[in-house]
């Protein structure tokens, strides 16, 4: 994943108040999932009032290799906010979730997060805690499973339509 342009303001905030020490060049910084809502609140107060996107990714368990240490199955949720000015700065960060863990919903802060979070819940199966209406958005209501998980077979049959 190509990282967003360097954001000094965000990095200072994360280093000072959120105990983040690593700022990889090719990915947004990792923030503890329990402080997700707190970070978003602070950024909104700093002028990041535009909710750009939320993207959840599923990772299968990985053995230790050159690429990195051993990883259990987990999810990463990346969120991006922007200052709604010309050339406004972008603030993006990631949260890591183990299987079964949820992440605080940002619907209370940004109304636009509603459907975006529903979409990620629908396709990847990440739970957004305190979301007012966490239903499927794209797949039919009687769909089984979350199709964008890495272990979902693409040719899964769906009786009676395919």
């Amino acid at each position: 994943m190509k990282g967003a342009p360097k954001n000094e303001e965000l990095e200072q905030l994360l280093a000072a108040e959120f105990g983040v020490t690593e700022f990889p060049a090719d990915a947004p910084p990792l923030v503890d999932r329990t402080r997700h809502l707190e970070l978003a609140t602070k950024l909104k107060a700093l002028g990041y009032r535009l909710y750009v996107t939320v993207v959840a990714t599923h990772y299968l368990p990985q053995a230790a290799s050159k690429a990195g240490p051993e990883q259990p199955e987990h999810f990463e949720v990346a969120t991006a906010l922007r200052k709604p000015t010309q050339g406004g700065a972008l603030a993006a960060w990631r949260c890591k979730l183990a299987v079964g863990e949820g992440i605080p919903s940002l619907v209370g802060l940004f109304a636009g997060a509603d459907w975006q979070e529903r979409e990620q819940f629908d396709l990847v199966g990440v739970r957004f805690d305190d979301h007012p209406d966490l239903r499927r958005l794209m797949m039919p209501d009687d769909w089984e499973g979350h199709p964008l998980r890495k272990d979902y077979a693409i040719d899964t049959a769906c009786t009676p339509w395919r």
Binding site: A153, D155, P160, W161
Partner: protein, 252 residues
């Protein structure tokens, strides 16, 4: 020449009246011709346009090709239409809606599959949410290939449909019986087509129920149904049908 009572492919009150009157045989034949002319030259279309084929369909309906010349009027409601033109990819979520709209169309009705996606799902056919061809749940009369087909090709498809309607009214049985057998190296749809003799009856029943319960608060829970004994039996039947045409690692 009189039309024999047994050969009739349709009924109409006027026709019945004339058939009963002595000496009106000639008029009966004329009425038959008139009705056939009307049926084949007033094809009101219900556009089931879901993607880029829909744009091409609009081009066909606009002034350059002008489908109106042959009496086709595009209607926004299935209840006043004769032909459903399915133009685009049909997804698993859309399929019960399409089926429901089709069921609302009055007989006699015709179905035209426009473009590769409607015909077979094209390169989306293996995706978890795409129906591999609408002939797995709709009786398609004319296939118009292309990605997307030209407006001229759609026009040609409709002219072929007119031929088919004339043949049907002359007593030829309707149906896709002339389809050549699928070559061995080509994959069949993952579901049997409507005209497939191996197609289980439960499949059609399930599709109709799934479409029929849309939006009435009596949503049939397909998850429960799939997990029931009948649902599992149907899934096993379908898997067995699928097995010979699919590579071994595709088995579920």
């Amino acid at each position: 020449m009189a039309v024999k009572e047994d050969d009739r492919a349709f009924t109409h009150p006027l026709y019945d009246f004339m058939a009963r009157m002595p000496g009106l045989d000639v008029a009966t034949t004329s009425v038959d011709k008139l009705l056939t002319w009307g049926a084949s030259n007033a094809l009101w279309i219900f556009p089931m346009a879901t993607s880029c084929c829909g744009i091409e369909f609009m081009a066909a309906a606009a002034s350059r090709v002008d489908l109106d010349r042959m009496g086709t009027i595009v209607r926004g409601t299935p209840r006043q239409s004769d032909v459903m033109v399915v133009a685009g990819t049909i997804t698993v979520k859309m399929a019960p809606r399409v089926k429901k709209l089709w069921d609302q169309m009055p007989e006699p009705k015709w179905c035209l599959a426009m473009g590769s996606c409607a015909i077979s799902g094209d390169f989306y056919r293996d995706i978890y949410s795409v129906v591999p061809g609408i002939d797995t749940f709709l009786p398609v009369d004319v296939y118009v290939p292309g990605c997307p087909p030209n407006p001229e090709e759609l026009m040609h498809g409709l002219l072929r449909l007119q031929e088919k309607i004339r043949a049907f009214r002359a007593g030829k049985p309707r149906g896709a019986a002339e389809r050549p057998p699928t070559p061995e190296h080509m994959r069949r749809p993952s579901l049997p087509r409507l005209d497939d003799p191996t197609r289980p009856d439960e499949l059609s029943l399930l599709q109709t129920q799934s479409a029929g319960s849309l939006g009435h608060g009596t949503e049939m829970n397909l998850i429960e149904l799939r997990r029931s004994k009948a649902g599992e039996a149907l899934a096993a039947k379908l898997a067995a049908l699928r097995a010979p045409a699919e590579p071994a690692e595709k088995k579920e």
